[in-house]
Symmetry: C2
């Protein structure tokens, strides 16, 4: 851990929470989204793969939904971590969230072969429940808008193996 | 086409619309969802892959969102195709839909290594706009609930290559 570049909150999730297909650093088959602060907003940048197509030339909506989902839980983790007095890299373990609900409005067809930028605005509902509004851009064009309700992961969620 | 088993509406989408990462029969890297009638409802059955994990033991929400997304557009296509007097296998080309909005409520953690069954109830808003309510089950347990607003694909959507 010490030698790796910390690009996002997902880089400091505990190992047992680092297998997510969307944002787990240990899931080599997954998207490996990384979410970090940009001013008071949060940002996740991701370039979909060629196979992530809806119809040729445009990105599959399920991948955009996935981006919004993990961007939402990552943003909530960043926010509660900061509220708890911590920042990425200070050695503290961040809180881990799960998605209670996900909503995506597809505004325009999203072109392929372009880096997508998810920009999040975070609202605290209460300390264990956060709402993250996300705008997804391809270049300067907003292609999608999302809302995630993220809740602190219940302790019962972890399967002991 | 004549010799293949027609398991769902996606099997008769025109070739240029058969590349979807979620439900395209030509996308070998994708999920290859198939949606068909079951009485007045529609059904898509899919077993997530081992890498489609949220945390070990549970399915990634983005894959569940993808299932609901393509199940929604496939269900709308089935419904409008039937309204137009056609059924899968009669040789007519079905209408192709895109997703205007997608909403998912995650009710319970979804166990891995279990076939998921998406069951859709279709509502016509107008002939070019349909709402599909979907319940996702793992065995007998409902794990998620979704809503897709699907609209007939605009003719401008197809990129001429």
């Amino acid at each position: 851990m010490e030698k790796m570049e910390l690009r996002g909150i997902q880089d400091i999730y505990p190992d047992e929470f680092a297998w997510c297909y969307g944002c787990g650093r240990k899931n080599d088959a997954g998207h490996q989204f990384r979410t970090n602060w940009q001013g008071d907003n949060t940002v996740t940048i991701y370039t979909p793969l060629p196979e992530h197509t809806a119809i040729p030339g445009f990105v599959y909506g399920g991948v955009i939904a996935s981006l919004i989902d993990c961007h939402g839980t990552g943003s909530a983790s960043l926010a509660l971590h900061r509220k708890n007095g911590h920042e990425i890299g200070d050695g503290a373990e961040p809180p881990r969230f799960v998605t209670a609900s996900l909503k995506v409005d597809f505004i325009k067809p999203t072109p392929q072969a372009v880096a997508l930028k998810a920009v999040g605005t975070i609202h605290e509902i209460h300390p264990k429940k956060w709402k993250v509004d996300t705008e997804v851009y391809a270049g300067d064009t907003q292609c999608a808008r999302g809302e995630v309700i993220a809740v602190v992961m219940p302790s019962t969620f972890l399967v002991k193996e």
